[in-house]
C-alpha cells in the first residue's frame, strides 16, 4: 500500500513539473512568434524558476527517502543539470538577450520534457503494477 502511495505522490510531482516546463516552453514559443513581449515572457518564465527547480529537488529527495534507487538514478542527471545552470547563473531567462538565446532555451526545455515524460511513463507503469499487485 505504501508503495502505491509513493508512486502516486511522485506521479503528481512529475505532472506538476511537466506542466511548469511546458508552460515555459509556450512562453518562449509565444515570444518567437511575437505574441508576447520579452519583458512579460521572461518575467513569467523566471517566476517559475523556483517552483520548478524546487520540485525537482524535492522529488529526488523523495525518491531517496523512499528508497527508490532506480528512480533516483534516473532523475539525478536532471538534478545535476539544474544545479549546473544555477551555479553558472544561467537558470533565469535573460530579458536582454532572450531572442538570441531563445532557440537554446527551447531546446533545453524540450529535453527536460522528454526526460520528465520518460519518468512519468515508468512511474505510471509501477503505479499500475503496484495497484494491480495489491488487489
Amino acid at each position: 500500500m505504501g508503495d502505491l502511495l509513493d508512486w502516486i505522490i511522485s506521479f503528481l510531482f512529475l505532472v506538476t513539473l511537466l506542466i511548469i516546463v511546458i508552460y515555459q516552453l509556450t512562453c518562449l514559443a509565444d515570444l518567437e512568434f511575437d505574441r508576447k513581449n520579452p519583458y512579460d515572457s521572461s518575467a513569467s518564465i523566471n517566476r517559475l524558476f523556483l517552483p520548478e527547480f524546487g520540485l525537482q529537488g524535492l522529488l529526488c529527495l523523495y525518491y531517496v527517502l523512499t528508497g527508490h534507487w532506480f528512480m533516483t538514478v534516473l532523475s539525478l542527471p536532471h538534478l545535476f543539470y539544474n544545479i549546473k545552470l544555477y551555479v553558472k547563473r544561467e537558470h533565469l531567462a535573460d530579458v536582454t538577450e532572450i531572442y538570441n538565446t531563445n532557440k537554446w532555451e527551447q531546446k533545453k526545455r524540450v529535453y527536460k520534457i522528454a526526460h520528465i515524460a520518460l519518468s512519468i511513463f515508468i512511474t505510471s507503469f509501477w503505479l499500475i503494477h503496484s495497484a494491480l499487485g495489491d488487489i
Binding site: E32, P38, Y39, Y99
Partner: protein, 1027 residues
C-alpha cells in the same frame, strides 16, 4: 579607388550621369514624356539598355515586374575597374595617356611598349597595350625577371623606351580613339593592372593576377591576343552588350572566352634567387586608400539609399539555401539609419498630410521608388510582397505613356531611396516626448581630485544653448557618493535646493517633481547649480559610490518620459544594489573556461536595469574615468542594451584628458538625436533577418528598440533564407526608423534598397563589400568573446576567413593550376588583413597583459556601435609621414590626401629621420624619429624639445611649421567629429610608452604571440590547402 563613373561615360546610350538620375528630368511644368525615355516601361526615365540575348543570368529580364532602372546597365563594370589591385586613382589612365608618361608610370613602361612583330599593321581595335601586358612579366613573376620574348622585354626595360618615339609613340598613336571610347576597359585589363606600380613605395609589385597561361599559345595576331580584355568580361553575361556598344571591336574569339580569371592571387612560393626564403610582403594588399564603398552598385541602382545608410555584405543575394551555405562569409547588412549627410544631400522631409502615409496593406512597406503603379494610376503594387494596393484619392496621379506617374518629380518618396516622413498621430502611443537630459554624477573624492567634476560642469553649462529641442528641453541632476543628492530646480527658486537621501535600500524621491525641469524656464537655477557644483564637493573625502541606488533614483525620476541619462562614474560601485566586487584582472582566469565571465555583467541588476530603462525609453551613456578597475563590463551593459555608448578615460586628469572629455561630451549633448525610436528592416519574401548585432535591445523578433539614437551609431544584422529557392529576381530591403525628432515631430526615416538575386557564387564574391563584412565579423567576434575564451573568438574569425577563401579557391581550382598561390576575389583583397586587425584589436588581442580588462570591454562596447568607415579606420589606422611635408613651403595643405601618403602599419615604415602621425580616429600619436632634425623638433615643441615627451604638452609654438602641423591635427580631428582624438607625443626608443602607444598597434608586425601579416597569410594559405 577610381570606380566613380569610370565605367559609364563610354556608353552613348546613357542619358545622364548615373548618380543623378533626375538631373535631366524635365522641370515640373513640362510633361514628363519630353524628358522621358522613348522606349520601355521604365519607371523612372532611364532608357533601358537594349536587352541583349546574352543576359540570361541577369535577373533583370525586361519582363520582370518592376523594370528596375539601371538594371540594364551593361554589367557591373567596377569589378573590372577595381581589378587593379590597390591602384591609386591616377596611374591607370595617366600611364596610357597620350602625353609623355609621368614619372610615376615609369616602372610600368617596362612592359607596355614591347611590340609584337605584328605591330606593323596594328588593327585599331587591338589595343597594343593589352598585348604588351600579355608579354609583360608581372603575371606570376616579379617585374625584375621578365618573361616572355626576351628581346622585347629588354628593349622595354631600357629607360630610353619611355621616350623613344618608335614603339611607345606608336602605341599611343594607335590608341587615342580607343582611349576615349573605352577607358574602363583599358583600366580594367587585369594584366595591366597587375603590373601597375600601385604602391609608389613598392616598385617591385609582385603578382596580383594569375598568369594567363592559356594565352601563351594563342597569341598570334593582335586580334586574337586582344581577348584578354574581352576574356575579362567573358564571364559576364552581357558581353554582347559590350560588343554592341563598341562595334569597332572585333568579336571575341571564343576559345579564350572565360579563360581569364577574375581573381587576384598572391604567390606564396619563395622567390627564386632571392635571399629571403619568404615572400615579398610589400606586395600584399593594404587598404591605404581607406574604405572603398561599393560604388558600382549605387550607380547601377541610383534610387537605392546611399551606402552610408545601408551596406550589404554582398550586393548579390544567393537564390538558394545551398548557395547561401556555400557563401561562408556573413550574409547581412550594416545599417546606420541617421548617418550624417554632407551638405546638400539632406534627406527630404515629406508630409503626406490628410492622405495618410502610403503603405502596403499586407506587409506594411512604405511607398518607395520601386513600387509600380498600374491600372492607370489607381493601384500600386508593393515591391516587397507584390500586393496590389489602392492609391488614395488625394495621392492619385495619371500615368504617362511609360507607366510613370506624371507627378513623379514632385514626389521625393518615389525617386529617392532615403526619405523622412512626418508621422501622424497613429504612430504615437503618447505625445512626442521632449528631449530630456539627465545627469548622474559621481562626486566622490576621485571625481573632484581628477578635475572631472569641473570639466563636466563647465561643458554642460557651455552646451546649454545648443541642446536640441529648445524650448521643450528638460534637464535634471543627481549627484552621489555614499548618499544621493537631489536638486530642486524649480524655476521660482534662485538657487537650487539640495536634498540628501541616505537610505540606499529603499529609495524614494524627496520631491515628486521639479527634479526634472524645463531648461528654458529654469535656466538661471541650472546655471547656478553648474557653477557651484565643483565648489560644493571640492572638499569631499567620501570614497564610496552608491551607484546602483543612484541609478534607481534616476530611473524613478525619468520613467515618466524617458530621455537620455548620462552617467559619470569614477570608481567601482561599492554600496547598495548593484555593488560590484573587485574581480579585477586576475591573470589566472585567462585561458580557463571562466574567462568570459569577466567580460559580462557580474550582477544581474545591470541587465535588469538596462531592460527596464529601454522599456521606459531611457538611453544611457556611460562615462568612466577611473584609473583603477571599474568593471566597465557591468557598467557598459547599461549602455549596450539602451542603445547608448561607453566613453572611457582611464586615469582621467583634466589637464590631459580635459579637451577630449569636453569635445566628446559636447558632441554627445548637441548632436541631433532621435528619441524613443524603434527600427525595423523589412525584406522580400523568402528571406529574413535572423540576428542583430549592436547596442540595442530587441523588443520583438525584428523590432529594435532605441531609446535615443544618433548619427554615430550603426547596427548590423544577418540574413537567412527561409525558402530553399528564391524565385524572385531581386530582393528589396527597407529600413524604417520611427522616432521623435528633437523638435517634437514624430518622423519615420525610410531607406530602401534593392539587390539582385543570383545563382552564381562567383557573382556573390564579385559584389562583396569588405567593409560591412569586416564590420559584421568584428561584432560577431566581440559577442563571441562574451561567451567564450578570447582564443576561441580569434580562431573563429580565422576559420571563417579560411572557409570563405577555400570555397573561393575551389571555385577556381578546377580550371586553373593554382599551385601555392593564395587566391581571393578582388573585392575581398583586404579581408585577410582586416581579419588579422580584428584579432589584434583591443577587445580581442593577446592575453591579460596586452590590454586591461576595462580597456577591452570599453573598446568592445565602442566597436559594437561604430559605423563601417570608423571601424575600418580603427582596425587599420592611418600612418603617414609629415616631416617632409612640414618642410615644404607648399600652399596646398588643403589637399591632405595627396600630400600625405598612408603607409603600411609596420615598423619598417618608420624612418628614424622622420616625424610620423598615427591616427586611428580615437587618438593621434606623433612619433618623433631619433634622428629627426632638431630644428623640426624645436619648431614644434618649443624649448623643451629634448625633454622626455610624455611631459611635453603639445601646443602651437607661433612659427609656421608648428601652425602647419596644428592645422593638420585640427583637420584630422574635424574629419570625424564623433570622437576627439587626443594627441600623444612619443620619441623613438622611449619605452614603454612607444610600445604601448604605437608599436603595439603596428598590426602588420609580429608582436607577442601573434603573427605578423606575412605569417598570417601563410597560416591562412596553409589552412586553405589542408583538406
Amino acid at each position: 579607388m577610381n570606380t566613380e563613373n569610370k565605367g559609364y561615360p563610354n556608353f552613348p546610350a546613357r542619358p545622364a550621369p548615373a548618380s543623378s538620375p533626375f538631373a535631366s528630368a524635365p522641370p515640373p511644368g513640362i510633361p514628363p514624356q519630353s524628358g522621358g525615355p522613348p522606349t520601355g516601361s521604365d519607371a523612372v526615365g532611364f532608357r533601358p539598355f537594349p536587352p541583349s540575348a546574352s543576359q540570361p543570368i541577369r535577373p533583370f529580364a525586361p519582363s520582370g515586374p518592376p523594370p528596375a532602372p539601371g538594371a540594364m546597365r551593361p554589367s557591373q563594370p567596377s569589378p573590372f575597374v577595381s581589378q587593379i589591385p590597390g591602384s591609386r586613382p591616377p596611374p591607370p589612365s595617366t600611364a596610357y595617356g597620350p602625353p609623355p608618361p609621368p614619372p610615376g608610370a615609369a616602372p610600368f613602361q617596362r612592359f607596355p611598349s614591347p611590340p609584337f612583330p605584328t605591330t606593323q599593321n596594328p588593327p585599331p581595335q587591338g589595343p597594343p597595350q593589352t598585348l604588351a601586358g600579355h608579354f609583360s612579366p608581372p603575371m606570376s613573376l616579379r617585374p625584375q625577371q621578365p618573361m616572355g620574348p626576351p628581346p622585347q622585354s629588354m628593349i622595354s626595360g631600357l629607360p630610353g623606351a619611355n621616350t623613344s618615339p618608335s614603339p611607345a609613340d606608336f602605341n599611343m598613336a594607335a590608341r587615342p580613339g580607343f582611349q576615349q571610347s573605352m577607358p574602363p576597359v583599358t583600366q580594367s585589363y587585369p594584366g595591366v593592372g597587375g603590373s601597375q606600380p600601385s604602391f609608389p613605395g613598392y616598385p617591385s609589385k609582385q603578382v596580383s593576377q594569375p598568369p594567363p597561361m592559356p594565352f601563351q599559345s594563342s597569341q598570334g595576331p593582335p586580334v586574337s591576343s586582344y581577348p584578354p580584355h574581352t576574356g575579362g568580361f567573358a564571364q559576364r553575361p552581357n558581353i554582347a552588350a559590350q560588343q554592341n556598344l563598341h562595334p569597332n571591336y572585333a568579336p571575341p574569339t571564343s576559345n579564350v572566352q572565360g579563360l581569364v580569371e577574375d581573381f587576384n592571387s598572391l604567390s606564396l612560393a619563395s622567390i627564386p634567387g632571392s635571399m629571403e626564403p619568404g615572400l615579398d610582403h610589400r606586395s600584399f594588399p593594404r587598404p591605404l586608400d581607406g574604405d572603398v564603398e561599393p560604388n558600382s552598385f549605387a550607380e547601377m541602382y541610383p534610387m537605392n539609399c546611399h551606402s552610408r545608410y545601408l551596406r550589404l555584405t554582398t550586393s548579390a543575394i544567393p537564390n538558394s539555401q545551398s548557395l547561401a551555405s556555400r557563401w561562408h562569409l556573413p550574409l547581412g547588412a550594416v545599417v546606420c539609419p541617421l548617418a550624417e549627410t554632407p551638405e546638400g544631400e539632406e534627406v527630404p522631409l515629406i508630409d503626406f498630410g490628410s492622405t495618410g502615409i502610403i503603405r502596403c496593406r499586407r506587409c506594411r512597406t512604405y511607398v518607395n521608388p520601386y513600387v509600380t503603379f498600374t491600372d492607370s494610376g489607381r493601384k500600386w503594387r508593393c515591391n516587397i510582397c507584390s500586393m496590389l494596393n489602392d492609391v488614395p484619392g488625394e495621392y492619385f496621379s495619371h500615368l504617362d505613356a511609360n507607366g510613370r506617374r506624371m507627378d513623379m518629380d514632385q514626389r521625393p518618396e518615389l525617386t529617392k531611396g532615403s526619405v523622412e516622413i512626418i508621422a501622424p498621430t497613429e504612430y504615437m502611443v503618447r505625445p512626442p516626448m521632449p528631449p530630456i537630459y539627465f545627469f548622474l554624477i559621481d562626486v566622490s573624492i576621485s571625481a573632484t581630485k581628477s578635475g572631472m567634476l569641473e570639466v563636466v560642469a563647465q561643458t554642460i553649462k557651455s552646451c546649454l544653448d545648443n541642446l536640441p529641442g529648445y524650448p521643450r528641453t528638460q534637464i535634471g541632476f543627481i549627484t552621489y557618493d555614499s548618499t544621493l543628492h537631489f536638486y530642486n530646480m524649480k524655476s521660482s527658486l534662485s538657487q537650487p535646493q539640495m536634498m540628501v537621501v541616505t537610505d540606499l535600500d529603499d529609495i524614494f524621491l524627496p520631491l515628486p517633481d521639479d527634479l526634472l525641469v524645463n531648461l528654458s524656464e529654469s535656466r538661471t537655477v541650472v546655471e547656478a547649480f553648474l557653477d557651484s557644483l565643483p565648489m560644493m564637493f571640492q572638499d569631499n573625502v567620501n570614497v564610496e559610490s552608491a551607484f546602483g541606488p543612484a541609478l534607481r533614483a534616476a530611473f524613478m525620476v525619468m520613467n515618466q518620459l524617458g530621455g537620455k541619462l548620462l552617467i559619470f562614474q569614477n570608481s567601482l560601485p561599492s554600496l547598495g544594489a548593484g555593488r560590484l566586487k573587485l574581480r579585477g584582472d586576475d591573470p589566472r582566469v585567462y585561458g580557463t573556461d571562466k574567462e568570459y565571465a569577466l567580460r559580462v555583467a557580474e550582477d544581474p541588476f545591470y541587465k535588469q536595469m538596462a531592460a527596464d530603462c529601454t522599456k521606459f525609453q531611457i538611453g544611457i551613456n556611460v562615462y568612466a574615468f577611473s584609473d583603477k578597475y571599474t568593471d566597465i563590463a557591468s557598467l557598459g551593459t547599461l549602455a549596450k542594451y539602451t542603445g547608448g555608448q561607453v566613453y572611457y578615460y582611464p586615469g582621467f586628469q583634466s589637464s590631459v584628458h580635459g579637451d577630449k572629455l569636453r569635445h566628446e561630451l559636447a558632441r554627445d549633448l548637441t548632436r541631433e538625436t532621435a528619441w524613443e525610436a524603434v527600427m525595423r528592416i523589412r525584406c522580400g519574401k523568402g528571406i529574413r533577418f535572423s540576428s542583430y548585432h549592436g547596442n540595442f535591445m530587441l523588443r520583438s523578433t525584428d523590432l529594435i528598440a532605441l531609446p535615443a539614437v544618433d548619427c554615430d551609431k550603426a547596427y548590423a544584422m544577418q540574413l537567412s533564407l527561409e525558402e530553399t529557392l528564391l524565385t524572385t529576381q531581386t530582393v528589396y530591403f527597407q529600413v524604417a526608423l520611427l522616432y521623435t525628432a528633437s523638435c517634437g515631430e514624430r518622423r519615420i526615416r525610410v531607406h530602401t534598397s534593392i539587390a539582385p538575386v543570383v545563382a552564381d557564387l562567383g557573382e556573390m564574391y564579385r559584389q562583396a563589400d569588405t567593409g560591412s563584412i569586416v564590420s559584421l565579423y568584428a561584432r560577431l567576434a566581440i559577442e563571441k568573446s562574451l561567451s567564450a575564451k578570447l582564443d576561441d573568438a580569434r580562431n573563429a574569425i580565422q576559420q571563417k576567413i579560411v572557409k570563405a577563401l577555400k570555397e573561393y579557391r575551389n571555385l577556381h581550382a578546377v580550371q586553373h593550376r593554382l599551385g601555392s598561390r593564395l587566391i581571393y576575389p578582388e573585392t575581398l583583397k583586404f579581408l585577410p588583413l582586416y581579419g588579422m586587425a580584428i584579432i589584434k584589436s583591443i577587445p580581442l588581442r593577446g592575453g591579460p597583459a596586452d590590454a586591461s580588462l576595462d580597456e577591452r570591454c570599453a573598446a568592445g562596447f565602442t566597436m559594437m556601435a561604430l559605423p563601417v568607415k570608423k571601424l575600418l579606420k580603427l582596425l587599420y589606422p592611418n600612418l603617414f609621414r609629415v616631416d617632409e611635408w612640414l618642410l615644404k613651403p607648399s600652399a596646398d595643405h588643403d589637399d591632405l590626401n595627396n600630400v600625405l601618403k598612408r603607409l603600411p602599419l609596420a615598423a619598417e615604415s618608420l624612418d628614424s629621420r622622420g616625424l610620423y602621425i598615427y591616427d586611428d580616429g580615437f587618438r593621434l600619436v606623433l612619433w618623433f624619429g631619433r634622428m629627426l632634425s632638431p630644428d623640426i623638433a624645436k619648431n614644434l615643441l618649443g624649448d623643451d624639445f629634448a625633454a622626455e615627451l610624455s611631459r611635453v604638452t603639445f601646443q602651437e609654438q607661433g612659427n609656421g611649421m608648428s601652425k602647419k602641423l596644428m592645422s593638420l591635427v585640427k583637420k584630422l580631428r574635424e574629419n570625424d567629429p564623433s570622437y576627439h582624438p587626443m594627441c600623444f607625443l612619443v620619441r623613438q626608443g622611449e619605452q614603454p610608452r612607444e610600445g604601448f602607444l604605437l608599436l603595439r598597434n603596428l598590426i602588420e608586425d609580429q608582436m607577442g604571440g601573434s603573427s605578423g601579416y606575412v605569417d598570417w597569410i601563410l597560416q591562412i594559405q596553409r589552412q586553405i590547402q589542408q583538406n
